[in-house]
Amino acid sequence: MIRLEDVSKRYPNGTAALQDVDLAIDQGDFAFLVGASGAGKSTLIRLLIREDLPTTGRVVVDDKDVAQLRHSQIPQLRRLVGVVFQDFKLLPTKTVTENIAFALLVTGHGGQIVREETERVLALVGLTHRSTHFPRELSGGEQQRVAIARALVNRPRVLIADEPTGNLDPVTSWEIIKLLTRVQELGTTLVMATHNAEIVNALRRRVIHLDHGAVVRDEREGLYAA
């Protein structure tokens, strides 16, 4: 599903965010992307949805080299890969429902489908009772779940969550993880960037460890630290 071949990313200011990264993630897999802050996790995610281009190497998603995509094909890639952003990127002037429906409306859906699908993901993340609230009226965990719902509403084959438990208390963090695990069990490929050791160690899933932009460890049923 996802393949990185010798990928390096150097930002225009000279920062080498990724160096010679090779990895492959199969359809339906669950992978943790771990590493200290600044290790290059968010950069890797940006390359997957072509928010940015690799400096060298190839990023292949669904058998397509994302750098080779025509401009008009980028939207398809981004519908295939749903991202829960580190900063949520919710619109403050829209309610929970509107924020989620927005992703459907701007991808050309309308009417009945928007209502049904929005209700479906709201129920999935357990926020039906918050549907008319604005993001600022929600707790961090609830905002996180809205972001997840929006990423899921277009039924992506891959879900990427960038530090979804970053600012949450342990109980809320576990609720989010349970939610994401359930999504993965329903067949979606899940990639989760995190530096939450407790969760990584408890789940014993695949761990891809980044350090200063390089993959230093890639284990099937790994722990947070070697």
Binding site: L53, R78, T107, G108, N154
Partner: protein
């Protein structure tokens, strides 16, 4: 269909998000369209006048409504004796009006204004054997003025020449002023949309990240520009409609002898032309703006 629904709603909301800016842009566009319409109307009016005057007749004597037929016939006989004159025709008031009606029917651009009474004078139309004698004969016939028969001596080639000059000056000057107004209108629209795009940059970023096509990102703004154009056209056409009556009378007064007003067909063409021009300017300006803004945006 539902795509259209989304885009239309977004455009409408966008227009009212910053009403001061939108209304200012609308009024600028109206002003430009008014100038546009004004030049077209004047140009067509003058062309119609030229068309009406451009006959083979070289000299026309307008006759006093109160002149006695015997005096008119005597004058006609006297003029016919001049060796430079080929022919003299007497045209009654009714014939003059019929002729104008006939012309108006063939030229769809204008109709005869309904004036109640017939403002056209009776006339003597003189054809010359030799056109070079026009000036001399016109000068000698000027002596007839004030004697109760002849009210005016019209030297047609000169009048036509003057009208053509006015038309030319108006076209050149009009195009220059119009180009300037077009530039101002485009500038205002481009900036209005730029501000709108900037105000919604977060929304645009999210749209692009969740997989919206460029079509979806840009069309609300392009339609917002077209909305500015449409409102501008409505304002301009409303002003034109209100002004058309006084302007027609002014034109009839200005051209004096030609009670022409613009035909329904021409009015329709003008309205569609103004609206089309407004849509092109509004949509084009917005499209330029949104494209340059999106090119600056995050997408790699």
């Amino acid at each position: 269909m539902r795509r259209l629904g989304y885009v239309l709603t977004a455009a409408w909301q966008g227009f009212w998000r910053n009403p001061v800016m939108s209304v200012a842009a609308t009024l600028t566009v109206s002003l430009m369209l008014l100038l546009f319409a004004f030049f077209i109307v004047t140009d067509r009016g003058l062309q119609a006048a030229v068309g009406a005057l451009e006959s083979k007749v070289e000299l026309v004597l307008y006759l006093d409504d109160a002149a006695k037929p015997s005096d008119i016939l005597a004058l006609k006989a006297r003029i016919e004796k001049d060796p430079a004159v080929a022919r003299v025709d007497y045209v009654t008031k009714q014939q003059a009006l019929d002729r104008l009606r006939d012309l108006a029917q063939r030229k769809e651009d204008f109709t005869v204004a309904d004036l109640g009474t017939n403002p056209l004078p009776a006339s003597l139309e003189i054809k010359l054997a030799n056109a070079q004698d026009t000036a001399r004969l016109a000068a000698s016939l000027k002596d007839e003025l004030g004697r109760g028969v002849v009210t005016d001596v019209i030297d047609n080639p000169t009048v036509v020449e003057k009208l053509l000059t006015i038309t030319r000056v108006l076209s050149v000057g009009g195009i220059a002023v119009l180009a300037m107004m077009l530039f101002v209108a485009l500038f205002v629209i481009v900036n209005t949309i730029r501000i709108a795009v900037h105000a919604r940059r977060d929304e645009i970023e999210i749209m692009q990240l969740v997989g919206a096509t460029d079509w979806f990102v840009s069309w609300p703004f392009i339609l917002e520009g077209m909305l500015v154009g449409t409102f501008g056209a409505i304002v301009a056409l409303a002003i034109l409609a209100l002004a058309s009556q006084p302007v027609t009378s002014a034109m009839v007064g200005f051209l004096d002898i030609l009670p022409v007003s613009l035909g329904a067909n021409f009015v329709l063409q003008l309205a569609l032309g103004v609206l089309g021009f407004a849509l092109i300017v509004g949509g084009g300006g917005a499209s330029f703006s949104v494209r340059s803004q999106l090119a600056k945006g995050a997408r790699a």
